[in-house]
Amino acid sequence: MKIGVLKETKEFEKRVALSPDVVKLLIKKEFKVIIESGAGESSYFLDADFEAAGAQVVPKKEVFSADVFLKVNAFTLEEVAEMRKGAACISFLYAYQLPDLVKAFKEKQIQSFSMDAVPRISRAQKMDALSSQANLAGYKAVLLGANHLGKIFPLMMTASGTITPAKVLIFGAGVAGLQAIATAKRLGAIVECTDVRPETKEQVESLGGRFLTVEGVEGVKVEGGYAKEVSAEYLEKQQQLIREKIKDADLVITTALVMGKKSPILVTEDMVKSMKTGSVIVDMAVESGGNCELSEKNQTVVKHGVTLVGESNLPSLLPVNASQLYATNISTLLLHLANSSGFTYDQEEEIAKGVLITKDGELVHPFTKSILNL
Amino acid sequence: MNAEALIILIYVLVLASFLGFELISKVPPTLHTPLMSGSNAISGITIVGALIATSEMGFTTLSKWLGMFALILATINVVGGYAVTDRMLKMFKKK
């Protein structure tokens, strides 16, 4: 089986789907790997490194001879056009947002698998790129925020006076939120966090953060570890809590996502206005609409004296680690689905079933189907 | 036994008991068994009583036999007790 790795084409994307280490591993398993020249450059993986690992580094055109294509971001229509019929594709697809791509896959009878659809079960953890990337994003969000802040994080009692610790307010204690708590805490900030899922309280506290509980309401439906629906009453009480806390915050990091939906607005313009001048909001949900009304995707803007960081691709700012981890995730999935002589998966097996989007010209993924109506 | 002698024996008893309490205040768990065994050997001091019993009372059959029986048991207690305690403690040294 010949694996083809394409260079990412998305703006600002610095990651690459495989790392030299992982290439070595795949070669050992008797796969062939061809990589577009310069694909790893912005992750500081040189072509030479890949070659040393056993891959062939080739111009873009030649990559299309592969049987299975690996990428970080979704494939472009142009790329699909170059592939041979019946090839396979693996990457983050978020297929439910890309009807054209799905159509192209169907037409070309391409078997496509989506990294964002890996089920979050124990044995799939090694393939869970959402987690691995969110984790890095959580770290990076804090660093970005800290860098935009006119103050330092830790308490410092010095001869020239005492610097009070920065207050960091985090929304959402998922993978990214927890890592953000840990990182902000390490740097010495006072960290508070709120989440709709009540079990996150213990998790937040286990990292030294303070959990803000929305008092006196239940009304959150949690399904498979994801927040699915939140009652209106809850949202109102939550708003109240945020309104109160956000006034003192120096750095706000929002990570609240609801799978497959626009992310909830947690920070309104009013709230931004109430914040201290010079404070910073990092909106990690900006890709899916943002948790803050004012944040702008891929831009850092100052509004009402507050710096709003709308970086939509945080993991890409840590390309070395992000690519390393992603490579492990995607290769583990590939090895789960195939061996060197071809795909071997059982379509009813949970993981395969979860990730398979199109096959033999059909859209087979139920969730994607339900949204795209294709 | 006259009362005065008794009282002074009680003094001895009371003081020795206090001393017993004070001596053992903190003992690491590893020493629990050796300490138990070692003080068990000390309680074999009954051997002195047994000796006296076999000797002074050595005339009647029953008393004598009882004394001898007691002497054997007490000796086992004393000799075995010290020996086994020492064996245990020797082991600790090794580590």
């Binding site: 044995r123 | 020795a16 768990p29 309680s43 001091i45 009583g49 006296i52 004598k64 007790g81 305690t85």
Partner: protein, 462 residues
């Protein structure tokens, strides 16, 4: 009695005091035992000089026989059987006191025909009671420990009532013994009751609690010797006996505390020594509990330790205690490492963050793949608030939601100590059969609190 003998007794008493004192200190324990043995020798030799040796031959024969038996068993016994050996020796000591008391009684009443005064009489009766209880109690303890009798508590209804009745009877007969000294029947009944009581109070106690019982019986045998001292008006017996009596009680209490039990609780017995897992579904697992001190002793004698931290460590914020444990172990040259499971905790790198906070150097943290083969050669694995990541079901049970997840081979270690609060489940919400494995010991309680205690114990030991 000559003054020299008295002075010898005094010296012996002092040696006993020093002996017990040193026995409680790790460094001096052996010397302490020697000292008290020397004291014993002095006391014996001094006694021999006072005797009008009528029965020299018998006496030496008895001592030879007793000494040989004692020495033989002391040398032969296996290390693991020492507690039962101690129990047996102790029983002999009690029986000897009983024998001396009886002998004195018969001598005075039957041979000399003198009236035994109150003090003497009380002493004799006390010696019979305590000696008798010590003897049969110790024998039962011995039988339970070496498995000749089931280690299970043997209980029946009315047990405590029976004991009470027996004691009352004893008191009644004791009065009779005093009043009708010449009648040997009464004292014989006393002996019988004492022996019976000894059996009855030990059988309801479970095998695991035996060490405490033996310690208590040891204290009794000291008291019996003390009572004998009053019979014979002999100081060294009183001093040695009361030293052992008092220190034995204290030791018993220390041991009870170490087992987290009250003495009452042990003596009333019948509570069983196994806690069964509070599992509502699935087959319930039979687990073994371990206490703080025993854990500390296990660490103390280990040569390699691996810690498996999990989400519970984070919840308990026990990371700092782990560093202390590490320091204690490294002071003892114990190889000490952490095995980090990739998904331990609730976020990637959760354990790393916490252990870094506790200043545990990175090279102590070993990845799963690198350490998984080392478990089999490890003396102790301490699982701190981890559950799913050491659940063997992931290897063996295809039905399990975690099947296929790689896990840490903690179960392969010689001994596994699991620190968690209860039999509560982990993230995956499933039972963990590891907890029921024969090499697994549960250390229940909040990880930070219990392990702080373990570390405290270890500090004391050194």
């Amino acid at each position: 009695m000559s003054n020299i003998v008295q002075i010898a007794y005094l010296i012996a008493s002092v040696l006993f005091v020093l002996g017990i004192k040193f026995l409680g200190k790790t460094k001096d324990a052996r010397r302490g035992n020697m000292l008290s043995a020397v004291g014993m020798l002095i006391a014996i030799v001094a006694t021999l000089t006072t005797l009008e040796i009528m029965s020299f031959v018998e006496m030496f024969a008895c001592m030879l026989v007793g000494g040989a038996i004692g020495l033989y068993y002391a040398k032969k016994v296996e290390m693991t059987q020492i507690p039962e050996m101690v129990a047996l020796f102790n029983g002999f000591g009690g029986m000897a006191s009983l024998g001396v008391a009886l002998s004195d009684h018969f001598f005075k009443t039957q041979v000399q025909g003198v009236e035994i005064d109150t003090v003497n009489s009380v002493s004799i009766i006390a010696s019979v009671l305590i000696g008798g209880v010590t003897f049969t109690g110790s024998v039962v303890a011995w039988l339970k420990l070496n498995g000749k009798v089931s280690g299970q508590p043997i209980t029946f209804s009315g047990q405590h009532l029976l004991n009470l009745l027996l004691l009352l009877t004893f008191l009644g007969v004791a009065v009779m013994t005093y009043l009708f000294q010449i009648e040997p029947i009464y004292i014989t009944i006393l002996v019988a009751i004492a022996l019976l009581v000894g059996v009855l109070i030990v059988i309801p106690i479970g095998g695991a609690d035996m060490p405490v019982v033996i310690s208590l019986l040891n204290s009794y045998s000291g008291m019996a010797a003390c009572a004998t001292g009053f019979i014979l008006n002999n100081n060294v017996l009183i001093v040695a006996g009361s030293l052992v009596g008092a220190s034995g009680i204290i030791l018993t209490q220390i041991m009870c505390k170490a087992m987290n039990r009250s003495l009452m609780n042990v003596l009333l017995g019948g509570f069983g020594q196994t806690t069964s897992a509070g599992a509502q579904d699935g087959p319930s697992i039979v687990i073994k509990e371990i206490g703080v001190e025993e854990s500390a002793m296990l660490f103390d004698s280990a040569s390699s330790v691996i810690v498996v931290p999990g989400y519970g460590m984070a919840v308990a914020q026990a990371q700092h205690v782990m560093r202390e444990l590490m320091e204690q172990c490294e002071k003892r040259n114990i190889d000490f490492r952490f095995a980090i499971h990739p998904v331990a905790g609730r976020m990637p790198g959760h354990m790393n963050v916490l252990l870094a906070e506790a200043n545990i150097s990175y090279d102590k943290l070993i990845e799963m793949e690198s350490i998984n083969d080392d478990f089999a050669n490890t003396d102790i694995v301490l699982v701190v608030g981890a559950n799913d990541v050491v659940n063997p079901a992931a290897r063996t049970n295809p039905q399990s939601p975690i099947y296929g997840m790689p896990i840490l081979n903690a179960d392969k270690a010689r001994t596994v100590i699991v620190s968690k609060r209860s039999m509560g489940k982990g993230y995956a919400g499933i039972e963990n059969e590891l907890f029921g494995y024969p090499n697994c010991l549960m250390l229940f309680g909040d990880a930070k609190q219990t392990l702080t205690k373990v570390v405290g114990e270890m500090k004391e030991m050194s």
